[in-house]
């Protein structure tokens, strides 16, 4: 059996001959400022940041089986934290960025403490309630968040050092920021990936699969759910911090519930049962949005149609559908 088990659970042996897709995709994305237009880099930044946002949600949705309708709260808290620290307190980016993640994680731990006491739809509703409270505070607290005016002109980080690198000297600041954002997103995603494959991640999976049974193998279900909620909130905060800078300002709609819906749609569109699904969802949804809004102003109509088709025809999302197609092809080849 050990040989059998080796091939089933022995991911390391499989990775030996696998194409390093993640590295290839990363390098291709990294080359964007040199080979693409300014607009491509703009889109690339947005996709990278949303990928991290959606992947952080999927730690809850796909890995732990928790449906959070309020994930935008932590994205927003991260962007406000980073924006306020950089613009008003004049803290350098390399401090403000991790601080934003930490602050978002702290809020997630505080709200999550109450949320994990509930299950299913009640859990979802409570996450939504907390996110709307955060939105109301951001919208009204003029002194801190700029209220409905938001927090415009969040400065770019000081990237003078990057211009000294060969090949970076003629880059605009937005393109340099893209490179920085891409590297930070890649590091965060690598950490999330590692986490998902760790024993901790496995415990989260048992909770998704069967919380009752998980408790009876000794899992403190609420504690692990809270840990997942906190970590997911932290990574959402990091993505929010980057987005505020990219967007040149932080506004209350970052925290609004529709933002939570957007990121959930990305996650489900890409496929929540696959680690990279949410990133694919972020990519596809962002590109579609750009393409379709050029032709029609009825983007929500198109989005709704896509969702309906998706839910009925490809419930596993894009990567889920690809999986099915690939396994059918290989079966046909075997036959």
């Amino acid at each position: 059996m050990s040989e059998q088990a080796e091939s089933a659970v022995g991911m390391p042996s499989r990775a030996g001959w696998q194409v390093p897709w993640t590295l290839i995709v990363f390098l291709m994305a990294l080359s964007l400022p040199w080979i693409g237009s300014r607009y491509d880099t703009f889109l690339g930044t947005q996709i990278a940041i949303y990928s991290l946002f959606a992947l952080s949600l999927n730690l809850l949705l796909g890995t732990t089986g928790l449906v959070s309708f309020g994930h935008a709260a932590y994205f927003g808290i991260g962007s406000y934290a980073c924006g306020i620290l950089m613009k008003i307190v004049a803290v350098p980016f390399w401090l403000a960025f991790p601080a934003a993640g930490l602050i978002a994680a702290l809020f997630a731990a505080g709200f999550g403490f109450f949320c994990v006491r509930l299950t299913k739809i009640y859990f979802a509703m409570l996450t939504l309630a907390f996110s709307q409270i955060v939105w109301a505070v951001c919208f009204k607290w003029n002194d801190l968040t700029g209220g409905d005016q938001g927090l415009p002109d969040v400065p770019f980080p000081d990237l003078g050092w990057m211009a000294a690198l060969p090949g970076f000297d003629r880059m605009r600041i937005a393109e340099q920021f893209y490179v920085l954002a891409l590297v930070l997103v890649a590091l965060s995603v690598a950490a999330l990936r590692r986490l998902t494959g760790s024993p901790f991640g496995r415990v989260l999976t048992t909770i998704r699969e069967n919380p009752e049974r998980a408790a009876f193998i000794g899992v403190n279900v609420r504690l692990y759910e809270l840990a997942a909620f906190t970590i997911a909130g932290g990574f959402a905060g990091l993505s929010g911090a980057l987005f505020g800078i990219f967007n040149r300002g932080v506004f209350a709609d970052f925290v609004f519930w529709s933002k939570s819906a957007d990121v959930m749609i990305m996650t489900i569109l890409g496929g929540m049962h696959h680690f990279w699904g949410p990133a694919v969802g972020a990519l596809v949804l962002t590109l579609l949005n750009q393409q379709i809004t050029a032709y029609t102003e009825f983007w929500p109509f198109v989005l709704g149609t896509i969702l309906i088709v998706l839910l009925f025809v490809f419930p596993g999302g894009i990567l889920g559908a690809l999986d099915v197609a690939l396994s059918r092809m290989s079966k046909r080849r075997d036959a």
């Binding site: 088990a5 069967n210 193998i217």
Partner: protein, 247 residues
């Protein structure tokens, strides 16, 4: 080993378990029987901390575990299986058991290592023991019903319990599956020196392996003793009249 005294639980007026007391000695195989709705599952849920009793106490190895949450009773050495099979359907059989070992050995706080390489030997030994060696790579949810029951037993055993509670371990099984399961249970209980408490509706199974039987009827304990005592108890005979208890 397991001592239950005065356990009572009612649900909005309906008394499901009324003042039930009995003990199971170390390495004893004990059964709780009773007609449907007698309160067997409620009793199990009270013992494992799934439900909190209105009154009464549960002692595991002289430690009070009344109302203690399942993940803690589990750590104190109380394993259980469920009437309705309860596994991790989208994990492989190997991963199912490996998860239980990871939790049992306190690896859940490891955020960094790859989980694949942990406890392969332990999982393999357990797979052999419960007879699922060949199915290691299949998803739990795709197994046959009997195999899922075996897997569930494996999950309960992985936490290395002192006391094992099995809720209808042969429910829904064919005669041959039932026979195999009983032999498996007996062997494992013997090998590991387990104390076993199970519910069962198949009287042949009960009288075949139990050393001690407690009989529940409408939430009340109406008999508690050796198989011989219970078989000859007039009250039990009255409740089970026509249910073939004497066979």
């Amino acid at each position: 080993m397991l001592e239950i005294s005065g356990l009572t639980k009612s649900f909005s007026g309906f008394v499901a378990v009324a003042d039930v007391s009995f003990t199971v000695d170390t390495r004893q195989i004990a059964a709780v029987i009773g007609p449907n709705g007698a309160g067997k599952s409620t009793l199990f849920n009270l013992i494992t901390g799934h439900l909190r009793p209105d009154s009464g106490r549960v002692l595991l190895d002289a430690r009070d575990i009344t109302g203690v949450a399942p993940h803690e009773t589990c750590r104190m050495g109380l394993g259980r299986s469920f009437q309705r099979t309860n596994i991790f359907p989208l994990l492989t059989v190997f991963e199912n058991l490996q998860s239980a070992f990871l939790v049992h050995y306190g690896r859940g706080r490891n955020f960094w290592s790859r989980s694949e390489s942990f406890y392969r030997d332990e999982v393999e030994a357990l797979l052999v023991s419960i007879g699922l060696r060949e199915q290691a790579l299949l998803l739990g949810g795709t197994l046959s019903y009997g195999n899922q029951k075996q897997l569930e037993l494996g999950l309960a055993l992985a936490i290395d319990p002192q006391v094992l509670l099995l809720d209808e371990p042969t429910a829904g099984m064919s005669a041959s599956e039932t026979h195999e399961t009983i032999r498996l249970l007996q062997r494992i209980a013997d090998e590991r020196g387990l104390t076993l408490l199970f519910t069962e509706h198949d009287m042949a199974v009960v009288f075949g392996i139990a050393q001690k039987i407690a009989v529940l009827h409408q939430g009340h304990l109406i008999a508690d003793g050796t198989t011989e005592e219970v078989r000859n108890d007039p009250e039990v005979r009255r409740v089970y009249l026509g249910h073939g208890l004497s066979q």
